[in-house]
Subunit: 458 residues, 2 copies
């Protein structure tokens, strides 16, 4: 039942089988059954386990071949050696998600088993996600093979972010993060040891997936460097692709090897490949978090000139430093603009870049500073709202949104963790303006917006 | 009334005068009056304003010289030109905190005024903090000259962290941060345009201040490079000194100049000076935040070898990367240790560094991994607790504390922002184990502990 490289049936299966189904609460297979129910998977679900005739009133099959239907996706929740036996006998299966551990990551015996698994899948024309993975969380087609209960890892709502990852724990951590940021996802794929399906196949699918507007990849190693660059180059012409590469140096490399059995290649080669493919590379978890948040709202921009408007001089300088560290340009304002600003702004303020409104800023100072500042050319704007009442009102949110829309320029908010900050941050987020809670974080997000387009143009 | 370089009277004043006192709620002088009351300043407070005979039943003096006592600290809350007039006539004042803006930061006229102020202070032997500053928040002597009401900026409790800063907004942001982290402070000094008292005088005082265990400096420029290095070199032999230098590059330099009228010098010179003085330099607000949190709990360590124990393979690799990026050593474990680990750990786990316990870790896996891992030599330990129940119990907190105390090694916790994480993070914090919420953040904290001692030894 070879499907070539097309893996789209994984993301739109008519039927799912759970191999190793169990009625025991908390067992991975039982969690997956519950998750498919909870998320409202609309297709047929078949349970397979020779030890049960039925589970909670649902028929349980003795084997996969007993099922008189084509199984688009069979989820294997079995000890590693048993996976081989069952897969060997499977006749009606298009794709397998093998969540079981006990393969390459455990040493030489496991590696031999994994090699057999690979050969078996190829021989039978069964595409494999895994082993040693969480599989698929798909908010579009309503699939959830992650064997962690929802009480423990909350699931994100539907949205435009898709995530590809070798690390299952990373997938879940990103889920939790997305839930807390109220950012929705399309597809999340955790492929673990990646015996077959990896980032190249998935990225090819996501390139033409209308539900996906941003692709995020957590990478320890690449499946097929040449193909990945080709596929990614096509994808980045359509939507942003962000990658966090871990296992960069000595220690990381050893850890990545034992984690999913993959050996991370030399980091410099990856770096060059990402650049060539127009991929936006970010640094670690923090970089990824900021990238997802900003790309969930804004398109990439063509240049890297940042205007900073601040109500805290020190924080403004800190943001300017962080921006320049990341290759953004924080140019001074023109003489004419500075002159106009000095007549329009109330109180003491410097009229460079950052424009410092000081803690006595009122709502209209922000608007005036932006209107005048944007007469010089900027690609994006960072605005800090550190302090609040009595002088700043909640109307500032609408006023800034209006300026942003009028000038069609991405406007990023930076505030810090005061009570006021949290309140106004929620209002900004409601109005579609992403909020960042440190100077470094907002600079990372700005750099993502500016870095992407530059790569895509070259 | 010259006091030489000793400024300790600012931190233990017998009497404070508020010059420009006003009964109008929300006025800076009125906020300062309220703050001194609220914090319970035990000395005498004199109000000065020729327009009032009394304010809220408290006598109001027409001038400073009408007060028949020595004023240790006179707080000036007046328009800039009036500051000069009043100070010129002052006879009984040791120190002045001039919160008023309108000096160097406003341009050439303000610069001329500030030069006069400097000369005036020197001639009269009055030490000056400011102008254009927030002054002093002192949880030891109970002084609070910050003119922001407590509803807007919550004040930290008493503790061992002291903060020196040119930026008033930065001082307040750090306050808010410290409150949210439940970290206490000794003294916070915001000296703004720094016409007289700056980081060198303050650092000299803090070196011998028993209430201060950690010094944190936010620096745009240095007051006196040579003296600062001398003073700091003495201080770092007694307690950690952390600096965040802003205005590093082009944009930052311009911003820092207009912000407090100071011109930031070449960054490389600063970097060398910090190293020479044994100062721990951190990067921006995030670096400062992490440094304060970790130094509030742990002493500096002698080496930089980190052991990482994780329940999430991907996050472990990410932490290892971040550690090595910051110059820490994530060495592999010895063959013997790896062998012992492979017999003692349940389930699948790699036995390198990071030690990956996987998401199926139970409490005793953590303890066993640490006990065995620490038979090799490490200077500090990072432990992730990403997942929780059902397998991990709250007893893990006590178990990890016991291991830490037995081995006398700093143990840093990394978790992420799930509900479970927040709950267990609070328990760890209660037990004196600092918790960090991203892989990069815990690595920054570890690097601070390791960087400091290395510099101090040289």
């Amino acid at each position: 039942m070879s499907t070539g490289r097309d893996i789209s049936f994984f993301f739109n299966p008519q039927s799912i089988a759970i191999v190793g189904a169990s009625p025991r609460p908390g067992k991975p297979s039982q969690v997956i059954m519950e998750n498919l129910k909870r998320i409202g998977y609309p297709g047929a679900v078949y349970l397979v386990n020779p030890n049960y005739a039925s589970i909670n009133g649902v028929r349980c099959y003795r084997s996969l071949s007993e099922i008189e239907a084509v199984i688009d996706v069979a989820i294997f929740v079995l000890p590693a050696p048993l996976v081989m036996t069952v897969l060997e006998r499977a006749k009606n299966v298009r794709g397998a998600i093998i969540v079981s551990a006990g393969f390459k990551e455990t040493g030489s015996a496991g590696t031999a088993l994994e090699d057999e698994l690979s050969a078996l899948g190829a021989r039978k024309g069964i595409r494999i996600i895994g082993p040693n993975c969480m599989g698929i969380y798909d908010a579009v087609s309503r699939i959830d093979t992650f064997f962690t209960p929802e009480e423990r890892v909350k699931r994100p709502t539907r949205g435009g972010v898709s995530v590809l990852t070798q690390s299952g724990s990373f997938a879940e951590l990103i889920m939790v993060e997305l839930v807390s940021q109220d950012i929705g996802v399309a597809r999340i794929v955790s492929y673990g040891n990646r015996v077959d399906v990896g980032e190249s196949d998935c990225l090819e699918f996501l390139t033409n997936d209308a539900a996906t507007s941003v692709v995020v990849i957590y990478m320890e190693s690449v499946d097929d460097g040449k193909r990945f660059v080709e596929v990614a180059s096509r994808c980045t012409r359509k939507k942003p692709v962000v990658v966090v590469k871990v296992g960069k140096r000595e220690a990381g490399i050893h850890a990545a090897r034992s984690h999913t059995g993959a050996i991370s290649g030399r980091y410099e080669i990856y770096k060059a490949a990402f650049k060539k493919a127009g991929i936006i590379e970010v640094n670690g978890y923090e970089g990824l978090k900021d990238a997802i948040k900003v790309l969930n709202t804004y398109e990439l921009v063509a240049g890297k000139r940042v205007l900073i408007v601040t109500d805290g001089g020190g924080v403004g300088v800190n943001i300017a430093d962080a921006c320049e560290d990341l290759g953004l340009e924080v140019r001074e304002l023109s003489e004419e603009t500075r002159k106009r600003l000095s007549t329009r702004l109330i109180g003491f303020s410097s009229t460079g870049n950052p424009i410092d409104l000081t803690g006595s800023a009122i709502d209209s100072d922000y608007v005036n500073a932006l209107e005048e500042g944007l007469k010089d050319t900027f690609d994006l704007v960072i605005v800090t709202v550190l302090w609040g009442a009595p002088k700043i009102t909640e109307k500032l949110v609408d006023a800034l949104k209006a300026v942003r829309d009028r000038h069609n320029v991405p406007l990023l908010i930076c505030t810090l963790s005061s009570e006021f900050s949290r309140r106004i941050a929620a209002r900004f987020a409601e109005h579609g303006m992403p909020v960042f809670f440190t100077p470094e974080s907002v600079a990372r997000a700005a750099a993502v917006l500016a870095a992407g387009k530059r790569y895509a143009r070259s």
